[in-house]
């Protein structure tokens, strides 16, 4: 699906903030038959597009499973954000330890079991869903820590490689802008 991406620098944010449905980014504008419809909240946008593009799972039950896995990844992302923004050094180290020695490995283990049991090599039995893309995206952000974490989750490692090798995904990754910020940054709400 073709789309237009509008990326803006932080100085331009106030202008776009005024146009956004929730005062946050990302937001998606869909124009269909002359009607415009705006959506905020990254996961809402993902769920909406996943349903439209048949990447949501093949049944109500699979859809729910994909959403459960995605919510789990989102929790890990939020934990990572908390660590990133923690100013108190002691708390920061403690939180980072918890993230990398408990939270992430524990979730990866569960994902690993699910993928191994499915037979499809993906999180749900019928094949690729947005939850796989989200998990792969999250793993990307772990950078150098990724390898050691994935060494204990071989099925997740395979999934990660499968997603990156997907023809359309690999095409996007090759041409997308290289940005410095590899950590998920929660949009600024308060100016």
């Amino acid at each position: 699906q073709e789309y237009e991406e509008i990326g803006f620098e932080i100085e331009q944010w106030p202008e776009y903030k005024a146009k956004s449905p929730l005062g946050q980014a990302p937001f998606l504008e869909v124009v269909e038959n002359g009607q415009t419809f705006q959506l905020g909240q990254s996961l809402t946008i993902a769920r909406y597009l996943a349903r439209k593009f048949d990447l949501a799972g093949k049944s109500a039950e699979e859809q729910a499973k994909a959403e459960m896995y995605a919510d789990q990844v989102f929790d890990l992302l939020n934990e990572m954000v908390k660590v990133h923004f923690e100013k108190d050094i002691t708390r920061k180290i403690e939180a980072a330890n918890k993230l990398f020695t408990e939270s992430i490995p524990n979730s990866l283990k569960v994902f690993d079991n699910k993928i191994a049991k499915n037979g499809s090599g993906y999180l749900v039995a019928s094949g690729l869903t947005w939850a796989d893309l989200f998990l792969a995206d999250f793993l990307d952000r772990l950078r150098e820590k990724k390898d050691i974490l994935l060494s204990n989750a071989p099925a997740v490692k395979s999934l990660y490689e499968k997603v990156l090798d997907h023809p359309k995904v690999s095409k996007w990754i090759a041409k997308r802008p290289k940005t410095e910020k590899y950590l998920y940054q929660k949009p600024q709400n308060f100016d």
Partner: protein
Amino acid sequence: MVTYKLYYFNMKGRGELIRLLFAASGQKYEDFRIEKNDWPEYKAKSPFGQAPYLEITNGKKTMILSQSVAIGRYLARKFGFAGKGDEEQAMVDMYGDQISDLLNEFAKFMMEQDETKKQEIFQKLQNEIMPFHMKFFEAKLAQSKTGFFFDSGLTWIDLYLFNLLGLLGDQRNQLFEHFKAVKNLYDKVSEHGKIKAYLETRPETAM
């Protein structure tokens, strides 16, 4: 025939959205409340070691779902509380995610052990975060013809916000002074036939 068993603690917290959905739909389910001491046993059964989780049995097949809002959306779609059509469903979802953000901020406050930090978080919550989110909810609700978020009727996000407001206890009265449409929603959900009956019989818990 499908049967449902909800596993959560004896509290409202993140499990109550699911209970409210069952109540609104009239669908019977087993409301299993885990004793704190028994948690390790149930933690082992839950997909990600967390509660709430929902066991759904259809004939010989059993599926276990966790993540309260994923469960919420699944049941909402099954029971007709998800919104009408893809676009409305996405809009419902958007407000739902916003409510989740607010709930997570509230949870951060509840879980903070350090007293100084806790006070700091409380101030930020009360002076910035709550008003910021409530303003958006108020704007949407004020436009409604039905008093619910969407004109098509009750959706899961009405129940979700209702629960969050319930968790605030008496603090919510302060909010209600500034956000009339939010107060109206709270009242409307409280008075909704099946919900009202459920509210009268559910266990009283602080959170």
